[in-house]
């Protein structure tokens, strides 16, 4: 049962899919606050007509018993612009971004990668307590961020709350979109269900951006869900959905750009599932060699990495070369190290700041506690590492 798709088009819930009736909740022009009940259009009643009149679905009758088979063998296709060697496949999909913008994309991804390396190491050395790297997923972050406006709102997790914010943005006619990032594991949370449903019924300008990287700590996708990923859930809620190659920064950019334009113009949610791979461990508390092979990780690192693919593109355009690469690596490392050392040298905040800015005006009991702490430190200060704190 093939789903006909034109390259670059958003896959939407479609009626007449083979012989099975599929829910259709999308109708053009049915958006906006002006219409109070856009979905309860009255059907013309005619007892001679054998058409279904149920309020719950708009579909045809069928007289053959047939279950809809979840399509996980050939699921929703993955939109991409570049191949794994960074070559544009379909020139009409090339976003034709100017050189500065593409260089900015590249430098953002590589700077992030550099920062990850340094901070991961620093955790291992005990200089910071905890860290999570982005290895392999740089394309999803940078590609999508590049497609947004400066005033757009970004939520990391908090799917339900993101919908609320989007609703508020719509009410305020703010011309802003809310984008909510989450992983394929977090999509299992109950509030993802509620978030999707409310975004659709309340017609909110929100982009649900799911990074499907194959693992939730050690839980592989085969144990996280049995359906066709997260993109397949969107149409179930009446949400425009697409699956993209998350390691192709142009594909991510194009999808997010178009989703943003339409989300704001038409006040409807969009679901983008960016397929990618988590090359690093889940966090500094994880050792992924316990549950996946080194070969698997190496494949993605060497054969399908968002940074490599964009670099090949840059090289083929003549916008980058080995010398610049070497110089930028040095420069980005220096940048991160300087910032890190500067941060490390800073003392921790003065203990008095525990009490200020908790309330607009410090209430009496907080003042008492503040004074009590001051007295305590006077007597027992030597037992605390006060030298690390601002005086």
């Amino acid at each position: 049962m093939a789903v006909a798709i034109a390259a670059g088009k958003v896959w939407r819930p479609n009626r007449g899919l083979s012989q099975a009736a599929v829910l259709l909740l999308w109708r053009p022009g049915a958006r906006g606050l002006a219409r109070s009940h856009p979905h309860r259009q009255q059907q013309q009643f005619s007892s001679l007509d054998d058409k279904p009149q149920f309020p719950g679905a708009s579909a045809e009758f069928i007289d053959k018993l047939e279950f809809i088979q979840p399509n996980v063998i050939s699921g929703i296709p993955i939109y991409r612009v570049m191949d794994r060697q960074g070559q544009i496949i379909n020139p009409s999909e090339d976003p034709h971004l100017p050189k500065e913008k593409v260089l900015k994309l590249y430098k953002s991804m590589t700077l992030l990668n550099t920062m990850d390396r340094i901070l991961y190491e620093s955790q291992r050395q005990g200089r910071i307590s905890f860290y999570m790297t982005n290895y392999g997923e740089e394309g999803t972050h940078v590609g999508s961020a590049a497609a947004l406006d400066n005033t757009d709102l970004v939520f990391g997790q908090y799917r339900e709350a993101a919908v609320g914010a989007a609703y508020a943005a719509k009410r305020a006619n703010a011309n802003r979109v809310v984008i909510c990032y989450f992983g394929e594991g977090a999509a299992s949370e109950g509030d993802a269900h509620a978030g999707f449903n409310f975004a659709a019924t309340l017609e909110c300008p929100i982009i649900f951006f799911c990074r499907n990287n194959g693992y939730a700590i050690s839980t592989p996708t085969s144990e996280q869900y049995r359906g066709d990923g997260i993109a397949a859930r969107g149409p179930g809620y009446g949400i425009m959905s697409i699956r993209v190659d998350g390691n192709d920064v142009f594909a991510v950019y194009n999808a997010t750009k178009e989703a943003r334009r339409r989300a704001v113009a038409e006040n409807q949610p969009f679901l983008i599932e960016a397929m990618t791979y988590r090359i690093g461990h889940h966090s500094t508390s994880d050792d992924s060699s316990a549950y996946r092979s080194v070969d698997e990780v190496n494949y993605w690192d060497k054969q399908d990495h968002p940074i490599s693919r964009l670099r090949h593109y840059l090289l083929s355009q003549g916008w980058w070369d080995e010398e610049q690469e070497k110089a930028w690596r040095k420069q980005s490392r220096k940048k991160v190290m300087e910032a890190f050392e500067q941060a490390e040298r800073k003392p921790k905040p003065n203990p008095n700041l525990l009490f200020s800015d908790v309330y607009q005006e410090m209430p009496a009991q907080l003042r008492k506690q503040q004074e009590s702490l001051a007295r305590h430190l006077q007597t027992y200060g030597e037992h605390y590492p006060l030298e690390h704190f601002d005086k």
């Binding site: 299992s188 109950g190 839980t219 144990e223 316990a290 549950y291 305590h376 007597t379």
Partner: protein, 357 residues
């Protein structure tokens, strides 16, 4: 069956809290095939904090189950399984995430036995790390002892050391009621000496009974979970200055062992409660309220200032508070006083012979 690699029986009988919980679960899984463990990362990963190390290898997919990321989902499923006759152990990666599932814990688990007139029990254990860890920020550091301790129908325990951990998890699993076991991530790696009786496969600690960890005469210090260790350290420091603290490890939050606390307060006349939760409507607040309402024996309490309830900063703040000792109340024999108010339980009565006065 292959020996569970997670079990550590060191020659000095020192066992970490993590291994004690692991042992307790292992023994109960072996004893009763209806017992099973479910949660995120509990199977091949050995648990997010390695508490279920080796269990999946030993018991397999049917007894140790990895779930998708939905606490509301798997807690509800666990409750349903318990209602249908199984004995699930539902692990929350931390109790902060139990808020996603709190409707299942309270409405589906805690209230069902009562609401069904005793027909439907829910023999489930909810366990996981509770309270503050190291630098995990506000949303991952809350102590839920007061929240769950508030609800009838739930039993709530909070182990401190390895012995507590093993004895309480085993009692919780064998209990036919929903039991919330509030562990502590920072205690997982701490080793304690394991008394010989704790090595037994039938070692149980009764739910609802506190333990006096240290005898004392001058002041009662009541605590639960990790702060118990801080209290004992403070007691050691104070002892050098001639103040002998009686340190009580609550072990159970609900039902609270007020008898042990009352008996101690009767002896020392001074009380400090120490906890990791917030002060308002907290565990310490409840203890203070009950002490103020009057001890069950026929005694009237007069006090100059309220008993102290603090959220601990560290051992030295506990020590400072106890050394000050301005907080006290004295116990006097029963007598009728014009200041006696009417009883809460029976308005108009002022005999003060029941707990409510």
């Amino acid at each position: 069956m292959a020996a569970v690699s997670g079990l550590v029986r060191r020659p000095l009988r020192e066992v970490t809290v993590r291994d004690a919980i692991n042992q307790g679960m292992d023994e109960e899984l072996e004893r009763d095939e209806k017992v099973f463990l479910l949660g995120e990362e509990v199977a091949q990963y050995d648990g997010a904090y390695k508490v279920s190390r080796g269990l999946w290898k030993k018991y397999g997919d049917k007894r140790i189950i990895d779930t998708p990321i939905s606490e509301m989902g798997f807690a509800g499923i666990a409750v349903g399984a318990a209602m249908a006759g199984l004995r699930p152990i539902c692990e929350f990666m931390t109790f902060n995430f139990s808020m996603q599932a709190i409707d299942q814990v309270i409405n589906s688990a805690a209230k069902t036995y009562y609401m069904s007139g005793g027909l439907q029990s829910v023999p489930i254990v909810f366990r996981g790390p509770n309270g503050a860890s190291a630098g995990v920020a506000a949303q991952h550091s809350q102590c839920f002892a007061a929240w769950y301790g508030h609800c009838p129908g739930l039993k709530v325990v909070s182990p401190w050391n390895s012995e507590d951990a093993k004895g309480l998890i085993k009692s919780a699993i064998r209990d036919n009621n929903p039991v919330v076991v509030l562990e502590n991530e920072l205690m997982y790696g701490v080793p304690f000496e394991f008394p010989p009786e704790a090595q037994s496969k039938d070692f149980l600690i009764p739910i609802g009974k506190a333990k006096i960890e240290r005898q004392g005469t001058h002041i009662t210090v009541v605590s639960h979970s990790r702060p118990v260790g801080h209290c004992l350290e403070a007691a050691a420091v104070l002892s050098k200055e001639g103040v002998e603290c009686e340190v009580i490890n609550m072990r159970t939050i609900r039902p609270m062992d007020m008898e042990t606390i009352e008996a101690s307060v009767m002896k020392t006349n001074h009380l400090v409660t120490v906890e990791g939760g917030w002060p308002q409507f907290g565990v310490g607040a409840e203890i203070c309220a009950r002490i103020m309402e009057g001890i069950s024996k026929k005694l009237v309490l007069e006090y100059s200032q309220a008993v102290v309830n603090i959220m601990y900063l560290n051992t030295y703040s506990i020590k400072r508070l106890k050394a000050r000792s301005v907080w006290h109340f004295s116990s006097r024999k029963y007598f009728k006083s014009k200041s006696r108010k009417s009883c809460v339980q029976f308005p108009g009565c002022s005999c003060c012979s029941c707990h409510w006065c």
